[in-house]
Assembly symmetry: D2
Homo-oligomer: 254 residues x 4
């Protein structure tokens, strides 16, 4: 695939430095490894390389969803890829689904939902802070999902505008306040996912979930550990992420 105008490109040095850019004719990207002319990238295939003004070899790759999430403009804590993939599966999000994402933040989760539901699906993305909303809008445009994600500048304390959604995701500070609204918005048999960083919050969410017609209530956490990819000295890295969030799941009945 040939790199064209406005393409997203992940620049990768042999030492592992990474930069994510949008290619613009005439632009230049300045880094400690030297200068890269965007025009040198245009027309090249993904997977090829360019050489900086300092003679450093730089691979030009097509950024994946994880590259986009870790390199996006953000003002909020993100849902990490390590959790995100599992959430997509636990919520069983698939082509054509209608999904609510409440507490959009910078938009990583909505982006993942949008890719999973495709053009025949819909993501209703609630955010009450207009600065976050504008940032998310910008990110969605960049990621080409602005036609799938419907952004709503709205507090969810009055409930959701949709009914019968297939799945609903809550990433807000006090999710227990909105679980009855979530139940209302979900289809019967629909799935809810909630992320909270503290054990106190998990306790509050669970209490409220048991008061409502939800079943299959589960709580998970995960630890992802990278290894140094050295065949003769294979071992985990020295330090790792210790905690991002607890994940709570349930299914609406009744």
């Amino acid at each position: 695939m040939i790199i064209t105008k406005n393409a997203r490109v992940l620049l990768l040095s042999e030492e592992g430095d990474e930069f994510l850019i949008t290619v613009k004719p005439g632009s230049r990207f300045v880094t400690h490894l030297g200068i890269i002319e965007h025009d040198d990238i245009l027309g090249k295939p993904f997977g090829s390389f360019v050489v900086t003004s300092k003679g450093v070899k730089i691979f030009v790759l097509s950024p994946g969803i994880i590259d986009e999430i870790f390199n996006m403009k953000r003002k909020t804590q993100i849902v990490y890829p390590k959790d995100l993939g599992f959430i997509l599966l636990m919520l069983d999000v698939k082509n054509g689904d209608r999904v609510i994402d409440a507490g959009v933040g910078s938009g990583a989760m909505s982006y993942a939902f949008a890719r999973a539901v495709g053009n025949s699906g819909r993501v209703y993305a609630y955010e009450r802070r207009s600065d976050f909303l504008e940032l998310a809008r910008e990110n969605f445009r960049k990621w080409n999902v602005e036609d799938i994600v419907e952004l709503k500048l709205k507090d969810i304390s009055d409930g959701f505008e949709e009914k019968n959604v297939d799945a609903l995701f809550l990433d807000v500070p006090t999710p227990w306040d909105y679980l009855h609204h979530a139940w209302d918005a979900l289809k019967s048999g629909g799935r809810i996912g909630i992320v909270v960083p503290t054990t106190n919050q998990v306790q509050e969410v669970l209490k409220r979930l048991y008061d409502l017609p939800f079943v299959k209530i589960e709580v998970w956490e995960d630890l992802f550990r990278p290894f140094k990819p050295v065949p003769d000295r294979l071992r985990p890295v020295d330090r790792m992420v210790a905690h991002t969030t607890y994940m709570i799941f349930a299914v609406k009945v009744g």
Copy 2:
């Protein structure tokens, strides 16, 4: 959504017993909790419940991908959902992609790929054992992805028949033997994922990967820990899965 003939239904008791069935008019499902007539289920909405001959309440839910994977007929070790979600993200599999899955086994990974690539995409599923292949075929039919997954009874030691695939997944005992074939099949900038259970295999894969034009080589493992979902006594469960697989990723260049 109303449950119709041939629907997949997850039966869930209040104590957490789970059974996955395909609804057939006139059939009955016999369990230690009593008998359930399929006809009692037909016409009910997902999220409702039936009562067994012993008076036990059973919820009728729509099975998600994780329910299907854990309840499927299988003869092989499966890729666990905990790993599977992350692999989908790391391989950046999305609508319209063409993906190779080598070492299909019972088909869990191909199923996940099929859902991610959708009707405009394609999964080329290689398996050399005909008994595994037939089982996978049966599973794909059940999951409604037989039009997306192209099953191939074929040893991969002669290489893959496709070129320019977006992603390739290797789940075979000696993946290092096929990495050059994988490189041939991938598009420039395409992504490869490899799963192996032992550290010795990781070492072998890494050695070979460094001999070929691959970059962004990463090795990961993960630990997922469920909690007892009891709000007043919140704590992890007593025992957990300690290990399923190591995951290795890379991107083709050049």
Copy 3:
């Protein structure tokens, strides 16, 4: 070292079966691997082997503290070796120390303390249930620490009888009720350790600790993962312990 009458002996088969016995002249030990005459063991050195009536080779080893803990008679949840070693270090227990162990249970922790403080030290072991106390007494006799551990059948709600102890360990259901008593019993600069299985209990303990003159407050948990010790297929085992306890530590000031 030669095995003599009343010695503790760990029997180990080549397949990894383990049995812990006290050697008595004239006794016999019956197992599915065949019968072992104690007289065959007497006089042999530790590290040698005997052969059962069925011809199975059995190594006769000297049991270590971990073997004793996992094989002891018990009626209670034990402090696991994985946690125990860290607690000994965090409480800085050493030769000559005076230590309180409240909530003795079957005595594993007191045993570990007794070995660390030696003959010049003292362990004050509080237990309010007489059946647990008798079991612990029996265990201490077997382990030869009955002169170091002073067992007390006593509820700690009235406080501890000792002052100026070097360290204090609380393994009771509601430790927050006794933290002021613990403070009274500790020397200035003395260390406290508390174990509780649930996050709710950790929260309660922390609240109370911050109300009292304690500093250096820390909370830890640990995961220990065994590997299959196979050099050509090195990998973690399939399943592991997910959780035993949270460990809380603090130092008395003031």
Copy 4:
């Protein structure tokens, strides 16, 4: 306990800054929190506090073994307390034992062994680099165990000078080269512990262990995770140690 001349003192601010000093009459300790006169500390009890020249309150505590290890002068990778406590238990080191520590480094492990064996025991500490040895010697003096630890400037490729030791610990780059010497030095039934950072090294050690008369061969790793000790927002910290070492254990027979 009153702080006297040459006492080791752990200084702790309310924000958690820690400094470990040896108290010398007339000295002053300069830090960003202000100056502390050693004479202000002398005569105070452990657990009390002093005030710096800037008015900052500083607790004066008695350092525990973990404080000493993390604050010691070192030129080498240390054995972490998280591993160290478990090793002490697995090697069953106790009062009166004779233990070999090969690859002394800065001396943390020998220190822990020395405390466990007491005055009636003995630690034979091998180190081939004289600069490490001198540093360890200085540390042992500081920790008051120089009469228990016998330092030996010696390469272990010619074997160990002791026989019938109770336990032996190997912390060297190629431990498989010395396992036969270790076997020679151990008593029958004695225990060996080996630490190595990479999976390749574990594989090599296991291969060699199976060639020698060792039983009860085990491989472990552990993850210790600290929590933020905040009762209303209880959660793990953001980042943690991902890996220090693999631990291999075995028992000599034959």
